[in-house]
Symmetry: D2
Subunit: 363 residues, 4 copies
Amino acid sequence: MTSKKLSYGEYLQLNNILDSQYLQSGKQGNLVHDEMLFIIIHQTYELWFKQIVHELDSVINMFKGNYAQEENTGLVVARLGRIIEIQKLLIDQVGILETMTPMDFLEFRDLLTPASGFQSIQFREIENKLGMDAEQRVRFGKQKYDEYLDSNDRKRANESEKSPSLFVLLEDWLERTPFLQFKAFNFWESYQSSVEKMLNDDIKRINENTTLDKSAQENSMKNYANIQKTYEALFDEIKYKQLLDAGHRRISQKATLGALFIKLYRDEPVLQMPHRLLTQLVDIDQLLTSWRYRHSLLVFRMIGVKIGTGGSAGHGYLKKTAEKHSIFRDIANLSTYIIPRSSLPELPKELKKELGFYYTYAK
Amino acid sequence: MTSKKLSYGEYLQLNNILDSQYLQSGKQGNLVHDEMLFIIIHQTYELWFKQIVHELDSVINMFKGNYAQEENTGLVVARLGRIIEIQKLLIDQVGILETMTPMDFLEFRDLLTPASGFQSIQFREIENKLGMDAEQRVRFGKQKYDEYLDSNDRKRANESEKSPSLFVLLEDWLERTPFLQFKAFNFWESYQSSVEKMLNDDIKRINENTTLDKSAQENSMKNYANIQKTYEALFDEIKYKQLLDAGHRRISQKATLGALFIKLYRDEPVLQMPHRLLTQLVDIDQLLTSWRYRHSLLVFRMIGVKIGTGGSAGHGYLKKTAEKHSIFRDIANLSTYIIPRSSLPELPKELKKELGFYYTYAK
Amino acid sequence: MTSKKLSYGEYLQLNNILDSQYLQSGKQGNLVHDEMLFIIIHQTYELWFKQIVHELDSVINMFKGNYAQEENTGLVVARLGRIIEIQKLLIDQVGILETMTPMDFLEFRDLLTPASGFQSIQFREIENKLGMDAEQRVRFGKQKYDEYLDSNDRKRANESEKSPSLFVLLEDWLERTPFLQFKAFNFWESYQSSVEKMLNDDIKRINENTTLDKSAQENSMKNYANIQKTYEALFDEIKYKQLLDAGHRRISQKATLGALFIKLYRDEPVLQMPHRLLTQLVDIDQLLTSWRYRHSLLVFRMIGVKIGTGGSAGHGYLKKTAEKHSIFRDIANLSTYIIPRSSLPELPKELKKELGFYYTYAK
Amino acid sequence: MTSKKLSYGEYLQLNNILDSQYLQSGKQGNLVHDEMLFIIIHQTYELWFKQIVHELDSVINMFKGNYAQEENTGLVVARLGRIIEIQKLLIDQVGILETMTPMDFLEFRDLLTPASGFQSIQFREIENKLGMDAEQRVRFGKQKYDEYLDSNDRKRANESEKSPSLFVLLEDWLERTPFLQFKAFNFWESYQSSVEKMLNDDIKRINENTTLDKSAQENSMKNYANIQKTYEALFDEIKYKQLLDAGHRRISQKATLGALFIKLYRDEPVLQMPHRLLTQLVDIDQLLTSWRYRHSLLVFRMIGVKIGTGGSAGHGYLKKTAEKHSIFRDIANLSTYIIPRSSLPELPKELKKELGFYYTYAK
C-alpha cells in the first residue's frame, strides 16, 4: 500500500479499534446490552490517557536540562492547556455512564472480578509524571498501589515514579526565577510591610465586627495566628523547614518565593506566560480532584457502599483520594499572600525594563 | 486464561487499543507531535459511533414487528437518551481538536491524502439507520456518498440504506396511535376550531400592530396564508399529498395526526413516554446538526475555504449538510400546531380513563 | 398605559433592574472596574434564587394535603427538573467570577464589610424549604445562621424553618406508597433472600481475592458487617429506630421501604414518574453540594485561607457545609440495596396490573 | 447608613431587584405559573448585557487615541475573555427557558403584545459597539431596527452607531502594526512564494485524485481560482479595493496584512497577546452567532413558524441574522492564508530581537 491510497479506516486502524469489544456476558451466553457501553467508555478513557501521557512527556522533556527559556513556555502552556481540555471532557464523560442503571450494571459486574480500574497503568503513570508523592497515596490495606499490577506494568509504574516529575522540574525552574534580588531594590521588605498591613486590617475588622460572638472571634484569631506563622516562614529558612518536615509544605522555600514573585507581577510581559503556567498546574490538580469526586459519586450510585470489583473500598476509597491526592497544593495556597494591586510595591524602572519587551525600550 | 484472573487490560483489549496509533509523519521520519491527537480523537469518535450503532440497532429491533407496547417505550427512551448524551460529548470533544493550531495541522495534512472523514462507514450507517433520505443527501460532484467507500463498506452502507430505518418504523408506530377517533367524540373538530381561533387572533394582532409598516404586514400575511394552507392539509388527504409530493413533508398524514395527538395530550399517563420519545428524536436531529455545524467551523479554522483532504469542499460541504440533512423535521414542525393549554378540547371521561393508570380507576 | 402598548423595557421593569448597581468603590471616588461584575453576578444569583423559591413553593403546595395523585407527579417532576437546570447554570456561572483576579477583588473587598453572602435570606429559605435539618447546620462560632440576618429576614427564615418542608412532605408521601403488602404476595421475603445472596457472594469474593492482603480483607469484612447491620434494620423497627436516634438516618423506616419499592420496580408504568422524582431529589442535593464546593474553591482562589467579608471562616466554612449539608442522603443511600434486574422477585400478575395502564389491561 | 453596617441586601439593592416581577397574567387575575420564569430569565439577560457593555466600553476606551501599547493588551484580552465567558453562559441559559412547554407559553404570550426582545436597547448597543455594519442588518419590512425603539432608546442606539466601534478601532490598530517592512528583509515576497507553492500542491492533489469525478474536480478548480484571486488581492491595492467595494471585505488591506503578520508569527513574544486578541474577536462573533441560532431554535420550539410577539418573523428572522450578522468575518477568513510552520519564512535575527523580551537579549 502506498501512502497515495491511504484510507480513513487504515489510517485509524479501525480494524483493531472496532474489533476489541469482548463482552464477558457474551461468553456466558447471556449477553447484557449495557456491557458494551462499559467497555467502550473505558477504552475511550484509556485512549485519552495515552494522549495525556504524550503531552506530559513532551512538557517534561522541555523542562529538562537547563530549560527556563521563554521560547518554550508558550508551547508548554499550549500543551498543558490541551491536557486541561481533555480533563474537562473526561469529567463530562461520566454523565454517559450514568445512563446505565445500577440494576443493569449488577447484571454483569460479578463477571469482571477481579479486574479493576485500579489496574490502569496509564493512570498511575499520569499521577507519577505529574509528581504525586508516593508516600501520600491513600492505601487500601497495607499494600502499595503497584502490587495490584502485573510485573510488566509494575515496572512501568516504578520507572515513572523514579524519573523526574513535572513537580520536581517545576520546583527547579521556580528556584531559578531571576530578579528576586535586583540591585539595591529590596522587594521583599516592601512586600512584607504591605502584607502585614493587610493582615492587621483583617484582624482589626474581626475585633470590630459586632455581629461575631466571642467564640467566633476566637476562632478567627486562631486562624490568623496560623496565617501569620506560615507567612513568617516565607522568609525564615528555619521556620520554613519545619513546615516542610511536618508535611505542611512540599515545595522548597526558594521555589515558593519565585512563584510568588510571578503571581504578584504577572502583568509584566516576561511573567505573563509563567503565570499562566502556574494557574494551569492548579487547574490540572483541581480537575483531577473533580474527576475523582465525580467518579466516586458514580460508584456510589451504582453499588452504594459495597466494595469495588477489584476489592477496593469503592466509593469510600475514591472519595478519600479526591481529598488527599493533591500535587500542586502549595501553588494554590499562594492565594493567601496576594495583596491588592494598589498596595503592590512599585518595581524600579531598571527592573521593569528587564521584564518588558525589547521593542518597548528600544524605541 | 480463566475469568477468575481477568485483568483490566485484558478485559479492555488495551494491547490492541493502545497500539494502534501509527503516525504518518513518523513514517516520513519527521514526527509531528500533534498528529497523535488527530489520530486519537478520531479513534474515540469511531468508538462512540460504534456505541451509537449498538443502541440504534436495539431500538430498531424493539420497534420492529408488531411493537407499540408500553413495556418497551421506557427502554427505547432510555437508549435514545444515551445516544443524546453521547452526541453532546461528541460536540464538546471538538473543543479538544481546536487546541491544535492550523499551522501544526498543515504540517501533516498532506500526508493523509486521500483519506477523509467522508469515508467513515459507521457515520453513514448512523445516518441511514436514523432514516436519512438518500435523495436529499448533499452531493459533492455528481457521485453518491458511497462511491468514496471501499467495496466492503459500500455494501454495509447499502444494507443500512435498505433495511427499515427508525424513521420508517416510527412512522408506522405513529400511524397505529389509538384513540384518534373515540366513539362519539370528535376531537379533530374541536381542535380545528381552537386552532382557527388562535390563527385569527394572530392575524388580527398583525393588522392592528401600528409598529409594523406596510411591507412587514404583507410579509406576515403571506406567512400566515402559508400556515393556514399547511394547516388545512392536516385534515385534507389530497392537499397533504401535494405537500408530500413537493417534498415539503416526509412523514405520512396519518402519522402526523398521531404525533400531534401525543404532543397535545402529553400529560395523560399513557402518552408521557411517547411524548418524550418524539422530543428525543427532534433533539437527536438538532444535535446532529450542531455537530456538523461545529465541525464545519473547525474545518474553516484549520484550512479556511480550501478543500478537504478527501477532495470534498471542506467547510462549505459541511455547512451545507448542517442545513439540509434533517431527518425528523416534520416532528419538529408540529410546534406550529400547538395551542394554549386552556384552549385544548377536554377529553371525554371514558377516553381519559383509557389513557390513565389501571390503579387510578380501579380504586 | 394600556396593555396594548406594553414595551419590552416596561414589562421587565428595566428602569429598576438596570439602575440598581451602586459601586461602593464609586462612593469612595476611586471606582474599581471589576466591582460591577461582583454586583451583577450576585444580582443574577438572587433572581435565580427567586425563581427556585417560586418553583419550590408550587411543588410544596402540590404535595400538601392528601396529595399522592398521579396527575400532579408529572408537573412536580417538570418543576423540579427546572430547578435542576437552574442549579447547573448557577454552578457554571462561578466561572465568570473567576475571570476576576484576586488582586482586583482585594481592591474593593474591604469596602463591603460586614456584608456577606451569609445574609442571603432567599438562600436560607431554599435550604429550609427543601428540608435542611436545623440541628445539622454547620455553625460559625456559637451563633445560629439567623442571627446574622436583620429582624425582617430572620422572621422569614424562621417561618420557612417551621412550615412543612419538601423533605417532610415527601416522607409522608412515601409512607403512603401502596402495594407494599399485596394480598398473599410477600415481596419482602423474596427480596430479603435475594439481597442476602448478593451480599454473601460479595463476601465470598473478598475472601477468595488473593490480590488483597490481610488488612484489606479485614477492612472489607468490617464494611460488610456494617452493611448487613443496616440491611437488617430495613425490616426491624427497633434496629431502625436506633439508627434514627443515632442520627444515621433522617427518614422513617416506612418511607424507606416505600422508596425502595419504587426504585426496584421503576419500570412499572405507575412507578416511572415517582422514580424520576426520587432521582431528582438526589440530583438537587448533589448539585447543591457541587455549588458549595465550587464556591469554596473560588473563595480560596480569591482570599486563600483568610476570613470572609462577613467574618465567616470563608473557604473552610463553605467546604464544611459542602460535606455536611445533605438533605436527601437517605434516598441516595438506597443504592446499597439495589439487586441485579435478573434477581428481582417477579410481581404477581394482579399486582402488575395495578401498576400498569388501564388501556393495557382493558384490551 | 454608614458603610460600617452595609448589609448584603442593601449592597445589591435587592429591594428593587426582587420586587420587579409584574406578571401580566396576574393583572388579568389568572396568574400563569411559568410567566415568572419568562420575566426572570430576561432580566438576567439584561443584567449580563449591562456587564458586557461595561467591559466593551472599557476596551473601546483603551483602544482610543494613540493606543497600541503593550501594557494594555493584557487587560484588553482579560476583559474580552470575560465577555466570552458571559456569552457562553447566555447560550447555556437558553436551556432553562426550554423547560417551559409551548402550551404554557401560549397561555400568556398574547398578553405581551407588542413588546418584543427586538426592543432591547442594550443588545443593539452591543452590536453597534462591536461594529455591526448598519447597512447589513437584516430588516423586517422596510423599517430600520431603531424605529421599533422609543425616542430615548433610539437616541442611544444612534449614538452607539456613530461613535467609533471596536471594529473601527481595531482596524486602525492593525494598520499601525510595525515591522511589516523591516530593512532589507522582504517578508512578503518569501511569504508569497510559500503560499503559491501550497496552493499549487493543493491543485495538483485535486487533479490527481482519482476518487473525484469530473464535476467535483471542476468545482474544486473554480474554488481555487477564487482563492488565488483573493490571494492576489492581498498585495494588490486595486484588486483589494474591488473586493471592498463589492462588499466581500470590510477591513482595509493594510489592516489585513497586519493581522496576517500577527497570525503567522504569533509565537514571537510581542505578538502573543495581539494574536489572542484576534482569536477572541472571532470567538465573540461565533458565540453571538451561536446564541442567535440557539435562540431561533427555541422560538421555533415555542411557536413554530408563527410570528413573534413584536410582529417580527420570529424564528425565520433570527435564523437569518444568525447567518448574516457577522462582524469580524475578515479576521476569521485569514485561516485561508495560513501555511505550515515549516514553510514559514525565517525572520532575520534583528527583527526577532525586536519581537522578543528585553531580558532575553540583554543577557
